[in-house]
């Protein structure tokens, strides 16, 4: 867009002056339309958030009031009280933190491990592993979720536990449903929620690291694992930041798998989904009538990731320029 730069030299004759005018005019028009476009789209994005905030703090009586559009006449915290109660907020927050966010963090490390293996070593099957990781991106989790949930009900590692159980004569396959293991185990092996994409991002990043980093470590007598922990991980902060933001956010927002794997002790996303029926059960207000409370629930749900984003936002944006996800 910076094709026409202002020149500092004074205009000499009329044709130069005319050209300069044309340059400036184009420049002005380009930036005018750019800002107009950005502001329009930005408005669409921000409008929804403002509405959530506006509704969350609005008393019930003013929701159907056509004279109140943006700013309520009085503020109330009543909606939050109802929403916290209906969502069982603090218990659900605990579940989300302990199960979803924790497994998101585990994934940040487990995915970098395999990505390091395929990015920096040449061994047979390397390309196959990379291909499989890409295939994992392409196949939606819905495909495997149902057999997974059935398997988790009688968890077995390649039939070994079942075999032992047959010998002993007792079924020792544990039921992992409704526990955190349904999320922790896949994450631990690097095949959790959208891990294919994370392996891809890491691999692209590791490919770009200079070879000298590792060579220096090897000469100093480090084995590959210590090299990975002491040298590679500390220098891949940028990629880790990108991946951890994506990972935490997607785990936080996950709904489908949580519903399948959990039958009680639901995380926040499921509780948010059920908020209207929960309100109806406790207070008898019909769903839709308690729109303020639902919006308060949405507000409480998106607040923690938003705060995280606001803190990390600058680094995240800088990291997008540097990670080279596509490379």
């Amino acid at each position: 867009m910076n094709l026409f730069q202002k020149s500092n030299r004074p205009a000499v004759d009329r044709s130069t002056a005319r050209l300069m005018f044309r340059y400036r005019a184009t420049n002005f028009l380009v930036s005018f339309f750019r800002y107009a476009f950005l502001i329009c789209i930005g408005y669409i994005i921000i409008m929804q958030l403002l509405f959530v905030v506006s509704y969350a703090f609005r008393p019930e009586s003013q929701i159907d009031d056509p004279s109140v559009v943006w700013i309520p006449r009085s503020l109330t915290l009543e909606n939050f009280k109802i929403a916290i109660e209906a969502m069982d907020y603090f218990r659900a927050l605990g579940t989300t933190m302990g199960v979803q966010v924790l497994s998101g963090l585990i994934e940040v490390f487990s995915c970098s491990l395999v990505a390091y293996g395929i990015a920096r070593f040449r061994f047979k099957g390397r390309n196959l592993i990379f291909f499989l990781a890409i295939a994992m991106i392409m196949i939606p989790p819905q495909m495997t979720a149902v057999p997974m949930s059935l398997n988790f009900a009688h968890f077995d590692v390649f039939g070994i536990l079942g075999l032992i159980g047959k010998i002993i004569g007792k079924d020792i396959r544990p039921n992992l449903l409704d526990t955190g293991f349904t999320f922790w185990l896949p994450s631990l092996f690097g095949v959790g929620l959208r891990s294919g994409l994370f392996v891809f991002i890491y691999r692209q990043f590791f490919k770009g690291l200079p070879k000298e980093l590792e060579e220096a470590a090897y000469i100093d007598g480090a084995n590959p694992l210590t090299t990975y922990i002491r040298v590679i991980l500390p220098s891949s902060g940028v990629a880790m930041l990108t991946v951890s933001i994506f990972s935490i956010v997607w785990h936080w927002n996950d709904y489908y798998l949580s519903v399948l794997y959990f039958s009680s002790n639901y995380p926040l996303s499921v509780m948010l989904d059920q908020i209207n029926s929960n309100i109806f059960n406790t207070t008898g207000i019909l769903a839709g009538g308690a729109d303020g409370a639902a919006m308060a629930g949405v507000f409480l749900f998106i607040l923690p990731p938003l705060i995280m984003y606001m803190i990390l936002q600058r680094k995240f944006i800088a990291s997008i320029d540097r990670v080279g996800i596509v490379g």
């Binding site: 930005g42 921000i46 929804q48 099957g125 499989l132 709904y255 989904d273 984003y309 596509v326």
Partner: protein, 303 residues
Amino acid sequence: MKFLQRRPSVERKKNRNGFLFCLPWCIGFLLFFFIPLIQSIAFSFSKVSVTTSGFELDFVGLENYYYILFQSPEYVDNLLDTLTTFGQQIPIIFVLSLIIAMILNSKFKGRTFFRSLYFIPVIIATGVVMRYLSGSVALQSMQGSAGDLETAYTGTMVNFQQFFEQMGIPESVSSMVFRYVNDIFNLIWQCGVHIILFISGLQAIPQSLYEVSKVEGATKWEEFWFVTIPCLGNTIVLVIVYSVIEFCVSTGNAVIQQAYTVLQKQQIYHISAAMLWLYFLIVACMIGLIFYLFNRLCLKKWQ
């Protein structure tokens, strides 16, 4: 001599460690991805009955597929519905996010602010929140009695439908435009990750190419088609794949919704698996077709 050559070199030995790095992932892949995937294919060809010690499969052949295609209510309708939405939304999202990414990638004042604003949907755009946001009374109250969004943004002062008609634009075109306008909130909120992918792709294009094209006297338009787009090749593929996945996963998807209802409310695992597989096969064919056309029409031309 031969013996010596066969001995693994230090380099070889080190490379073997690479496999150790991948070993946990390979186990996990088999255990948590590959086996369930095979099971899910098996489910779609059989009858699943859950017992106390796991589940049992009775092979029934193509019966499940026959059922969902010819006997089940709504499945075919849902499928067509989903595929049409898919065909309508993906190109728009693609173009929109490319434009936004190109603007956000250029240098101007307030770039960081706009970037952090435009990435917000990445953080909070999910099925559950989106359902509350787009179905909220807030939006509906804005839409007014007409019930569509164009009045929400412009007020009821201007009747655009009539305006377009008077300008001589056929109704089919204007109604299509209105459909997109009504859906704009949805579309823009889906763009977040695509914008990120495009920006990182744009960053990877060497600046020297633009300088060369400037020296050669290319216009902006030519620069876009002969420098930006060819260099974005990989990104474009990635974005298309990503949007397809995102679309598959989204809870607003009618087929996924139906498969989910069958699964959760009625506990019929095999029908649900068959529904998902049929849908996925069609989508996979579509991706394959897109890639083929992309390779054939675009990449060949540039080389």
